[in-house]
Amino acid sequence: MHWFANPARFMRIAETVQPWIAGLAVLCIAAGLYYGLVISPADYQQGETVRIMYVHVPAAWMSLFIYTILALASGVFLIWKHPLADIAARAAAPIGAAFTAMALITGALWGQPMWGTWWVWDARLTSVLILFFLYLGYMALVNAFDEPEHGARAGAILALVGVINVPIIKFSVDWWNTLHQPASLTRLDASAIDPAMLVPLLLMAAGFKLYFLAVLVIRMRTLLTARRIRALHMVE
């Protein structure tokens, strides 16, 4: 952990690993899309519309996963004061916001033909919308200061407070009656998805995770370089 926290070392490792992750992400997403949109069968209830799942569900998983990363990085920054943790949190936020927007939009596109409505204010949909606003609020807060370092503490506290929303989103479908159906994969008995549909879903999920890693590394390197340039200007 501390070994990686050295920015110069991080930059060197990131440079070598990044193209590989990006390549693997493209492969996984291409394979997942082809499998999901062409090979996999239509659903017995939902017909062809079920194919929205292969984008919607992985995007929704990413929205929660990235927020957890954001909160963890913020916690590390608050406790150990690693500047790299702040950089990681800043770099992750817009990617998470994009995935959340994607989950919301594809969810609306799926809800219209299946449920008969674009949007309802049930517990799942509302808590995900709050997650989207948390991302936007975090991004606005950390960028609201002339000195980027000053926003870091306030942003980290906001990210940590918002983490309470993550279990609420996850369990909203179990705790309350919602229009949104409960989880298909994380349940006590076997998964409720046919293997022919599970394969493209997991391929897409892996692809999105790798995409996140690749973009995170690019963004972290950019932010680090921007900080270094800023520091050089200060010296002059």
Partner: protein
């Protein structure tokens, strides 16, 4: 106690307090966070005649009757314990069928539900049609979608 450990304990205590308060708030909201009531919930509740509510459950098998012009649908919603008759004028969603879970919004008038909107609910099961047919054939079908 080093500053690091102090900051760690502040963060941990803060998160625990935040979790507790969130749990208390969500418990206090109770019914307000529920998107719909089941027919059994309605029996236990008193609902004002003009109050708009949502009910949810399965469309009872064999209960759907459409008017001659096809605009008005009468059916019964069940949670397998209690039943409530529903009247709806309008276009039903694609997924609407007998045995399917639905959520209807409207008012309760003299024990029957006048719906202004009907939404279809689907469950978390996904499978190809052939698999569903095979399961039904072999008798391993788990039955209708759950509400």
């Amino acid at each position: 106690m080093t500053p690091k450990r102090r900051r760690l304990s502040i963060v941990v205590i803060g998160l625990v307090m935040l979790g507790t308060s969130a749990a208390l708030v969500l418990t206090a909201f109770g019914d307000n966070l529920v998107f719909f009531f089941s027919p059994t919930d309605l029996q236990a509740k008193t609902v004002a005649p003009e109050q708009r509510i949502r009910i949810g459950g399965l469309v009872e098998q064999g209960s759907l009757e459409k008017s001659k012009d096809g605009l008005v649908a009468n059916f019964r919603v069940t949670d397998l314990q209690n039943v409530i008759p529903v009247t709806f004028k309008g276009i039903l969603p694609d997924l609407f069928r007998e045995g399917q879970g639905i959520v209807a919004e409207g008012r309760l008038v003299k024990g029957s539900f006048i719906a202004s909107e009907v939404l279809a609910k689907h469950d978390e099961t996904y499978m190809p049609k052939e698999v569903a047919d095979a399961l039904k054939k072999s008798g391993k079908w788990k039955g209708a979608a759950q509400p």
